[in-house]
Structure formats: C-alpha cells, structure tokens
C-alpha cells in the first residue's frame, strides 16, 4: 500500500534495535520529506543522549518533525507551547492537597514525558526557561524538597524562531550549551515541496505512523553508541578542532570541554547511524556545525554557522 505500511512492515520484521532504527529513520524521512540531513541529526542527538534545538522560521516543519519522531519512537509525548506567562510549575508540576488522603499529592507536569516538545522556547521568561533547562541537565526535578527522576529515555526537542525577536527572551549562550545539537530545517527543495503539496496532510500521515522503536530500544542503542570506537587519531582530530576554536581570531570564546564531549558523542551516534562500529573524521565533520554552531561566540558580527564551517575547513584531517 503506502510507504508507511512498508516501513511498519520492515520494522515488524526487523530483529535488532539497529535494524529497527533504520526503519524508524526511513519512516520519519517519509513524513518530513527532503530533510534527510536534519532528520539524521535529530536521531544522532537522540542516540547520543542529548537534546535538540530546532531553529527556523515558522512553517518549515519543526513541529511535524517532533510529532513524527514521537510517533515513530514510541515514546510518551507531551508538547508545551511556551508563552510569556508560562510558569515553571506549568512545566514541572505542582503539589495539590488531597483531602481524602489528607496529604499533598504531586501532580506531575508535562516534563515527565519521554519526548517533550518545547515549542517556541524563547517566548517564555528566563525563569521558566531555566526550569526546563535545569531538568534537562540533571534528568530530575525537585518539587517541595522532593527529587523526582524524569522518565528514561528523556529527549527534549525545543524550537525557536530566530527572526521574530519581538517579545522574546533569547536563550543566553550558557543555556544554549544544554542543547547537544542545533539544527535548521530550511525551505524544502522543489521536488520535496511538490511532494508536500500533492501528498496527504502531514498530520494525517503522522497519525498513521506506527512506533518502530521502544524506549528500551533507544536505551540499548544509546549503550551501543557509547561503545563505538574512537581511535587515538580521531580523538586527536577532535582535540585539534577544540584547540583551533580557542585560537581562532574571529572567535571570542571557543569550545568548552563539554562541547568536546558533545562533539564526540554526536560523532559516535552518527557512526552508529552509518552502521559502523568506529567513528571517522567524516562523522565529526557531519555533526560539527550542529554541535559547535550555537556554542561559538564570535568576536565580531559573523554568522555562527559560517564561523563553525570556516573553523572546520581550517583544520586538516589525518
């Protein structure tokens, strides 16, 4: 029948988490057409155990991507539309008094989902933003003195519109660092756009998607990703990139060690997506702009992604 069916069939036939991963990738690509690279990066972020920031203008498929991921991954999904009056408790949850039990009962907020879509994150106040970002960093929330662990796997997809800055609170550089990858979707090419225009409604398609992976699969895949070989030569390359970012004359603040860890983890995840047990410099290069783009602080008014690309092109590979 249609591609979804084919993908679902492939998923049901697949035996190993890796095979199911490929099926999941194919399924998301069928819904979010013509966005192979961003979709792959989104999966890399998931497998590397990081969170994803999607930055682009409205209407290019940010939310569709998040929905398709949620449906395909078989994770519990919640969406929070960030607004300026959103409070931290709207995310984390509140304790309410239960008269029957004569005690406070915790009403869990949307953050206790496995996949959380934080839509237009820059519209909320910094206080609310930091509630989310702290939870992302610590994988737990503390309400009324009690710490509560978040669901596992926990994957945040946040979106923000970089152009419409009126009434927004742009994420400070230190908070941007919480996101492992930042991607842009960009306009589709002509062929993909034609498929969008002639094909079925995306929400219908998303509604028909079947889960290809389970939470356990994802945890297992994350385990596999961590086991990917990073040879001394590759670590040399990563370190050269890091030190080059700290010496580059157009960069005020280079990449932190945490950025280096993120780069390595993302490169390993990319190698896993490429069905390899070892990471190549090409894996590092593929994820570099998405990892470093939002972490580099330029010395002048230079586009950050272009700076990351220039940095990448300035470092030789063995």
């Amino acid at each position: 029948m249609d591609q979804n069916f084919a993908a679902a069939t492939a998923a049901s036939l697949a035996n190993t988490p890796r095979q199911r991963l490929n099926a999941a990738l194919a399924q998301v690509n069928d819904v979010v057409v013509g966005k192979n690279l961003p979709v792959r990066l989104a999966f890399a972020s998931l497998l590397a155990g990081g969170h994803l920031l999607v930055e682009d203008v409205p209407g290019v498929g940010k939310t569709t991507l998040a929905h398709a991921l949620a449906a395909t991954l078989g994770l519990s999904f919640r969406r929070i539309q960030f607004t300026s009056d959103l409070l931290p408790s709207d995310i984390v949850g509140v304790s309410v008094f239960d008269r029957d039990a004569n005690a406070f009962r915790f009403q869990a907020g949307p953050i206790f989902a496995q996949l959380l879509l934080a839509d237009e994150i820059n519209r909320a106040t910094p206080k609310t933003q930091s509630a989310l970002l702290e939870a992302m960093a610590e994988n737990q929330v503390t309400v009324d003195g009690a710490s509560r662990a978040l669901a596992q796997p926990f994957f945040v997809v946040a979106t923000q519109n970089p152009l419409d800055m009126a009434g927004t609170y742009p994420l400070p550089d230190s908070q941007l660092d919480r996101f492992m990858l930042r991607i842009a979707l960009d306009y589709p090419d002509a062929e993909a756009e034609r498929r969008l225009l002639t094909g079925e409604d995306r929400s219908t398609l998303v509604g028909r998607l079947q889960a290809c992976l389970s939470g356990e699969d994802i945890l297992a895949l994350r385990q596999q990703a961590r086991a990917i070989t990073a040879s001394p030569a590759l670590l040399d390359y990563v370190q050269t990139l890091l030190s080059a970012s700290r010496k580059h004359h157009d960069i005020r603040t280079g990449l932190s060690p945490r950025a280096g860890l993120a780069l390595l983890a993302a490169a390993r995840a990319w190698a896993l997506l490429g069905d390899r047990d070892y990471a190549l410099p090409e894996d590092v290069q593929a994820v570099f702009v998405a990892v470093a783009g939002h972490r580099l602080i330029p010395a002048r008014n230079v586009a950050r992604d272009a700076l990351a690309q220039a940095l990448l092109e300035s470092v030789a590979v063995e």
């Binding site: 690279l37 040879s231 190549l280 586009a303 272009a306 220039a310 590979v317 063995e318």
Partner: protein, 663 residues
C-alpha cells in the same frame, strides 16, 4: 547506507561576486579614475565617477550585468568624447581618457569572480598610467595607497574566507604592500637603467613649457600664475644677495612694435663679448626641470658653459638638445662684472638702438625731451625714466588691460598698469629712443632660499624680464625698471623672496609649499633621477668601477639567491611535521600519487571523502582505491593500535598502486 556530503569533482558553477567584493571593486575602479582627474577634463571624469556610483547603487538591489545596449552606448559616448576633446586617439592624454572609459565599462559588465579579477588587473594598469603624467612623491604615494582597494578586492574574491570588518579587509593588502617594499627597493637599486625612461614620451608636457623666446605684452602672464618648480639651485658657498639673484635666460634685441625677439644680433657668430670680472666667483649647481627648450639659466653672468651646452655671444647658455628631462649642470658666474666695457662694435650698437618706424610717437618724443635736457649725460636720462616709473602713477599688477597698436604709448600714458615685461619693454624702448643702446633680458629673478637644505627654489612664477643698457666705460648694465614701481596690486606676494616683483598670486599655502619642497627635491634628485650613473656609484665602495647591465644582473641574481637561500634556511629550521607512523607515511605517499594524477586532497577533507572522490575521478583504479580506503579507515580509526602485519600489507598495496592521470 552511508550518507555523506557529496563533493562534486566536476566543474564548479560560475561564481558571482558577493556584495562586499563588488563594493571593493567599485572603490578600486573609482580610485583609478579619480587618480586621473588631474589631467583629464572634469566633464569627462565626473560622469565616469557618477556611473561607477550608480552601478554600485543598482547592483545592491539587483545583480546582473548592465544591458548590452547601455554598454554599447557608453562605448560610443567615450569614443565621441575623446575625439571631441583631442581629435586623436593617440598620445598620453587621449590614451588615459580611453583607458578610464573602458575601465568603467568593464565594471558595468563585471558580475563573476573572473570578471572582477580582470577588472582589478585593468584598474592597476590604469593606476600605473597616472605615473606617466606625474612622478612626484605625492602622486607616487597616492598611487601606492590606491593599490590597497585593489588588493582588498582580490582578497574578498577568495572563496571560503569568513566575513570580516571593513578595516580588516584592507589589512592583508597593507601587509603585502609593506612586505613588497624591500623587493621594490632591490629592484630599484639593481635593475639596469635604460638611457631614457621607458615611458619618456617626447611630446609630453609641451603645453606647460617655461619661458619662450619671444615676448609680447601678456606673454609671461600665464607663467607668473604658475607655481610649478622651474629649477633648484644649490650654491657651493654663500648664495648671492637677494638683489643679485637674476638668472639670465636669453637676450632679446629686436622689437617690431609689439613683440621682442632675439633677432639676428643674438644669434650672431663672432667673438664673445669681452668680460672683465671683479670680486669673487659664484659656483653653483642648477637642477633644471624639463622645459623642452634649449636654453639654460645661469646667474648673471656665467663665465663658462657647462658640459653639453655652449655660451652665446651675450653670455647666455644654450644646451645642445632640448631639456626634456630634468637636467643638472654646474656653472660658475661672476656677479660683479663688466661686460663689453670699452667699446660697443658699430653693428651691435645699431641693433641696440633699432626701433620700428611708425610706432609709439609719444614715447619717442618723451625720450627726445629727456635727452635734450640731459645733454650727454646718459645716467640722467636713465634717472628720468626710472623717476617716471616710480612717481608717474604706475601700478604693478597681473591683471592688465589690453594695449592698442602703439603698445608702449598706451602703457606709458594710458593704462600705466603692467608687470615686468611691460616695464622692461617700455624702458628699453625709451632708452633706445633716447639714444642709449639697450636690450631686454628674460630669465628668472628671486626664488625661495631654503635655509635648511641650502638651496634656492625658483618657480615658474619667478619668471622675469629686465633691461640692460650699455654705458661707456661700464659696459652692459642691468637695470630692473620693475623694481622701482611703487604701487603693487597683488592678491599675495608669492614667497618671501625679498623682491616685490616677479612673484605671483601664490595663495596662503605657498610659503608652506616652499618649505616642503625639500622633500620634493630629494624625491626628484634621489629617486626619479636615479640613473645609470647613480647606479654605478652604488658599487664604488665594493671596488666595482664599471657598472653595466651584466654586472647589475649578476648582482641582482646574487642578492635574489641569497634572499631565497636565507628564506629556505629559515623554512627548514622550522620543524617539519613528520608522519606519526608507517600507516600515516603510506597514506601520505598515496595522497601524493593521487595528487600527481590530478586529485588533490582538500585541506580539511576527510580521508573517506577524499578516496571516494578519487575513485570516482579514476574509474579504472576505483576498486583498488575503495579497498585501500576501507582498509585505511579500519586501520586508522577502528583500532587504537593498528596491527603491524596489516599495516605492512597496506604499505605494499599502496606501493603497487599506479594511478593514471585524470584528464
């Protein structure tokens, strides 16, 4: 299912300039055009500049070449304008005009990076042609600075450079210019000189010559307004007193009622006028700027001719060929002298008294009147004449009303306004009419004495005319009738030369210019006139007395080799990166082979990407290359320590690979 960024090995699409590169290119072209503003008409330069700005403005909104019709129209307009102004496409000025027009046309059609590179080259050529017109220090510096936008444009055209600030765009070019200075100096000192400059166009500058050999009322006017340097004079001892700085150019004998010319008397063969010198001689060196005339100037009166010149019968100097390049000569003059003191030959006497018939009856009558009163006393007649100029309501001014047919009468009795040539002309006429032999001398008078560098700066505006009268027992005596005129109407007496005459409307900056002339003098003496002779002096300290092109070439080669050797030595002292192990060495060898075959690895290209690209470029070797690539990636990146036997195997396989050349 590998997915990588694909790299195209085919031809890249035609790259167009970005907005920044285009702005820099427009600036480059504008600079080249503006540098020509000094010698091209404003009505030509201004529209060109406007077109550049308009093109720049338009391209900010919409990219694309200007339509072919507009360009054709502009080409036609350029041709018409040049023809209308010069009537010929040949020569420096029309040539410069054409080059400027074509350069702007090039900008109109510049869209791609290739266009831009050509336009930059063309701009540099256009800029260089400015030096055909003006080699002064200021212009040379301006041309050098105007190279900066050109270099910045070239830099901005390079792909893959991060955006930088506007000031930073000029930094690499500035560094490059500075770094090229030593090489420039080397070439300047050692490249063999031609006898004449490469671009020594013979007719250039004809329009702006100095003093001419005839003098009609108003002839000197344009000269007196010209503040360009005529010559510089350095004295061996103290300079002569300010009132003795009369530089003799030529002697005019013949008057036809309107115009003074040398006449036959000045060209007579025959013996030199006898000279009795008294007092000390003045020795000095004159640096005469190109006048395109034959005569040289010397302090009243030279006692011998310098090399390549001869002494005329009236103690004037004549060069054997026109002074088309700056000329330096040494002269000795006697400031205190008696010229022709004893007896004036009858022939000369006749010439010195000759007046055209039927002109200026009132002046003649006045002179007769004086003679009748004075009797035999020539000095009294001279006194009368000078008194007339001093008290007769005469005015020294550069704005002179036109004179009628009887120009002397008109001047003496009606206008009473004039400058040196009017006074010299009228005074000489009066003397002759009164029976005193007299003649006009034209040259320079005064000048600015530079007390720091000890030289006298003489400008064209110091051009002057005076009279010599012959007195029994005294010989030819210089009398400067202009000096006695009491009323001076001038905007500003140029320079502080101590004499109220000869100067011109200089402007407030002239004193400053006079002082700054030291630098110009150094530039023209040491740089512009650095010729084969100066070059040979360079080698004297090294015991080389004869310097020909061959010696210079050898010296140049030695210095270049030394420079290259030192550079190579410094480069070799820097530790070279050694391959970390046998695997890396083998892959370097493989890369070298592939590069020789035509596939060069990009600086930051990943190994897998590179071998895949090579495999696509050389299908015959593709299976082998892909196998090598896989093996290399496994050895290097899947192992923390590659197994030695597999590395040896890889090295062997690399040795066996002989990729054929990619076309």
């Amino acid at each position: 299912m590998k997915q990588r960024r694909t790299r195209e090995s085919g031809a890249p699409p035609v790259a167009t300039m970005d907005a920044r590169a285009f702005t820099l290119l427009s600036l480059t072209v504008l600079c080249a055009i503006v540098a020509h503003a000094a010698h091209l008409p404003v009505w030509y330069i201004a529209p060109l500049a406007a077109i550049i700005v308009a093109r720049w403005w338009r391209r900010r909104r919409r990219r694309g070449r200007v339509s072919g019709w507009s360009r054709a129209a502009m080409l036609l307009a350029t041709a018409l304008a040049v023809f209308a102004k010069y009537q010929t496409p040949f020569g420096p000025d029309p040539g410069a005009a054409i080059v400027c027009g074509l350069l702007v046309l090039k900008l109109l059609e510049s869209e791609t990076v290739r266009d831009a590179r050509m336009a930059v080259g063309f701009s540099c050529f256009t800029l260089m042609t400015v030096l055909l017109f003006d080699q002064a220090l200021v212009m040379t510096l301006v041309v050098g600075l105007m190279l900066l936008p050109a270099l910045a444009t070239l830099r901005a055209l390079e792909p893959g450079l991060p955006e930088s600030g506007w000031l930073a765009a000029f930094r690499p070019g500035s560094a490059l210019l500075l770094a090229s200075l030593p090489l420039t100096l080397l070439g300047f000192l050692l490249i063999p000189r031609l006898a004449t400059p490469l671009w020594g166009s013979p007719n250039q500058g004809m329009a702006r010559s100095g003093i001419s050999d005839r003098m009609a009322p108003g002839d000197l006017h344009s000269l007196l307004n010209d503040n360009s340097v005529a010559m510089r004079v350095g004295f061996d001892g103290e300079p002569p007193a300010a009132d003795q700085r009369y530089f003799r150019g030529m002697v005019l004998w013949r008057f036809d009622g309107r115009e003074w010319t040398p006449g036959f008397a000045a060209r007579r063969p025959g013996p030199d006028a006898p000279l009795a010198q008294r007092g000390d001689l003045v020795r000095y060196q004159v640096t005469l700027l190109p006048s395109h005339q034959h005569w040289l100037f010397a302090l009243d009166v030279p006692i011998a001719a310098p090399r390549d010149a001869q002494l005329g019968p009236d103690r004037t100097l004549l060069a054997s060929k026109p002074v088309d390049q700056t000329l330096r000569y040494n002269v000795t003059s006697a400031v205190d002298y008696r010229l022709h003191p004893d007896r004036l030959p009858p022939g000369l006497r006749r010439w010195a008294l000759e007046l055209p018939a039927g002109y200026d009856p009132r002046a003649r009558a006045l002179a007769k009147d004086w003679r009748a009163k004075a009797g035999n006393d020539d000095a009294a007649v001279i006194r009368d004449a000078l008194t007339l100029f001093h008290t007769g309501g005469f005015v020294y001014a550069l704005d002179v009303p036109p004179l009628g047919r009887n120009s002397i009468d008109d001047f003496l009795f009606n206008t009473r306004t004039g400058f040196c040539e009017h006074y010299a002309s009228a005074f000489t006429f009066l003397m002759r009419a009164a029976g005193i032999p007299a003649r006009v001398v034209v040259g320079y008078q005064g000048g600015y004495w530079n007390n720091v560098a000890h030289y006298l700066l003489v400008r064209q505006s110091n051009a002057h005319a005076w009279t010599e009268v012959w007195l029994q027992g005294r010989g030819w005596v210089r009398i400067d009738p202009t000096a006695v005129v009491s009323t001076i109407e001038m905007a500003d007496a140029g320079g502080d030369n101590g004499a109220p005459i000869g100067g011109s409307i200089g402007g407030w900056w002239l004193p400053w210019q006079n002082r700054m002339d030291i630098i110009n003098r150094w530039w023209s003496q040491s740089i512009i006139n650095f010729d084969a002779l100066s070059q040979s002096h360079l080698f004297r300290p090294f015991g080389v007395n004869r310097t020909d092109a061959q010696t210079l070439g050898i010296a140049l080669a030695i210095v270049m080799f030394l420079g290259l050797g030192i550079g190579a030595l410094l480069a070799s002292l820097k530790p070279r990166e050694k391959p970390r192990d046998a695997l890396a060495a083998a892959q370097l060898r493989l890369q070298k082979r592939l590069a020789r075959a035509g596939v060069v690895r990009g600086h930051a290209e990943g190994p897998g990407d590179y071998y895949e690209r090579s495999a696509r470029a050389m299908p015959s070797a593709a299976p082998m290359l892909r196998a090598l690539s896989t093996e290399y990636l496994l050895l290097r990146y899947a192992h923390s320590e590659p197994p030695p036997e597999r590395v040896r195997d890889f090295v062997r396989q690399v040795r066996r690979l002989r990729p054929s050349r990619v076309l």
